[in-house]
Amino acid sequence: MNRLFSLAAAPLFAAAVFASSANADPIKDRQALMKDQGKTLGSITPIIKDEKPFDAELVMAALKHLNEDAQKIDIATLFPDGSDKGGETTAAPKIWEDKAGFEAALTKYKADATAAAAANPKDLESFKVVFNQVTENCGACHKSFRIKKD
């Protein structure tokens, strides 16, 4: 009886583990996604700062990757209700207090990231315009929706 039960339950148990692991820790998942976007921007910022020469291929690869990451930001899975607590998070309570505002900011970022990936800048000047358009979203969103905690 005991054995029969464990055999029957095993696949169910495995399925449950799999389902929860996809979204086990929204705080860690969203932080990893944010960090990856930071890393991507870090790869092309030396060009903006005139520390490295313009490289169209590198820039395009980075802008495409940034757009892929941007589209992965899903409020339901990464910012579910209750995920303002339960780990070290700097997400501001305002994300859940002003869901419409957060969603609007995110929608704008996604649209700007898509436009940046499609822009295909061919020189430093046009790249700077594209870069500024997409990165103004970072500060705009962090202004309201992130707080530094001790």
């Binding site: 870090g42 990165t135 970072c138 500060g139 962090h142 929706f145 707080i147 530094k148 001790d150």
Partner: protein, 308 residues
């Protein structure tokens, strides 16, 4: 009974008289004001960026050119109550009727044109270190901005903070035009940075911890603090533990310009607006701020560690 009254009454009168005398608003020396040259609006635009006026005086949520419409109405929710920032556009509801002297007295002495003490939510405790010529230039620039007749509404403060007169005593303790730090052998860049950070930039107002009556604890200058409004903390920007020792001067200047930290996080909270303001500041001034921040004493975090 009669003797008690005859003792107490003079005490009340003397005490009240002393309070009235000590809490009186002060003014900038008229001869100094008269000696200032005409304001240059173009230079005033830089001063406007250094001072971060738009952060508090643009309408809540204003973006782009709308940040130049200084309608006020931003609520600053603090432990002392809610301060509502005023309209400072050149209009009847704003400060259209103010003279240069009025602006100088407000910014350097915290005194309004009708002789009231202003609340230090308006950071005149830092602006007090500004040069008069910068105020004249700012005055000229403010005159060029679009007027609005927005009525921002009154502050919402409880007793005793609603008694403006009492602020006169507070100002005696915490209002001084003297520099915060003495830096030996400071380069010109460090000196310029000191002026910008301690004066118009008013960085210490958020980055330095306060005592229970709201005075800055300058022994922990720029060590970080509990956020003056809302939740969270304001970071330590000294080279101490928890601070920005690993940042180079270039990193600091670039963070002010772009909002990106050296590890490509982006600055948030009220600092996001500071970055927008800093975009209008001369590049050499951002570098000067960086030079100063690398030259100041290191402190550990000025706020209590998280309790878990």
């Amino acid at each position: 009974m009669r003797t008690a009254a005859s003792l107490v009454l003079p005490l009340i009168l003397v005490g009240g008289g002393a309070f009235w005398f000590l809490s009186a608003p002060s003014y900038v020396d008229a001869a100094k004001l008269a000696a200032v040259g005409p304001g240059d609006a173009q230079r005033g635009m830089s001063v406007f960026g250094q001072g971060g006026c738009a952060s508090c005086h643009a309408a809540p949520g204003a973006k782009g050119d709308a940040r130049l419409v200084l309608a006020g109405g931003v609520n600053l929710v603090t432990p002392f109550g809610t301060f509502v920032t005023p309209n400072i556009s050149p209009s009847k509801q704003g400060i259209g009727g103010w003279s240069f002297e009025d602006l100088a007295n407000a910014m350097l002495k915290g005194t309004s044109p009708d002789g009231q003490n202003l609340y230090p939510a308006f950071p005149y405790t830092s602006y007090a270190r500004m040069q008069l010529q910068d105020i004249a230039d700012l005055y000229a620039y403010l005159k060029t901005l679009p007027p609005t007749d927005n009525v921002a509404g009154p502050h919402k403060l409880g007793f005793p903070f609603n008694i403006r007169r009492g602020l006169g005593l507070w100002k005696r303790l915490y209002l001084s035009p003297e520099p915060v730090l003495t830096i030996a052998d400071a380069s010109d860049a460090i000196k310029r940075g000191q002026y910008l950070v301690e004066g118009p930039g008013h960085c210490g107002e958020c980055h330095t911890p306060r005592n229970p009556i709201g005075g800055l604890d300058n022994s922990q200058w720029l060590a970080g603090a509990k956020a003056p409004e809302g939740k969270g903390v304001i970071p330590n920007i000294t080279g101490g533990d928890g601070g920005i020792d690993s940042w180079s001067e270039k990193d600091i200047a670039y963070a002010l310009e772009s909002g990106f930290t050296p590890d490509f996080d982006s600055l948030g909270g009220s600092m996001a607006d500071v970055v927008l303001n800093m975009a209008h500041v001369e590049p050499a001034d951002r570098e000067a701020i960086a030079a100063y921040l690398k030259a100041i004493p290191a402190h550990p975090n000025g706020y209590p560690a998280a309790t878990k």
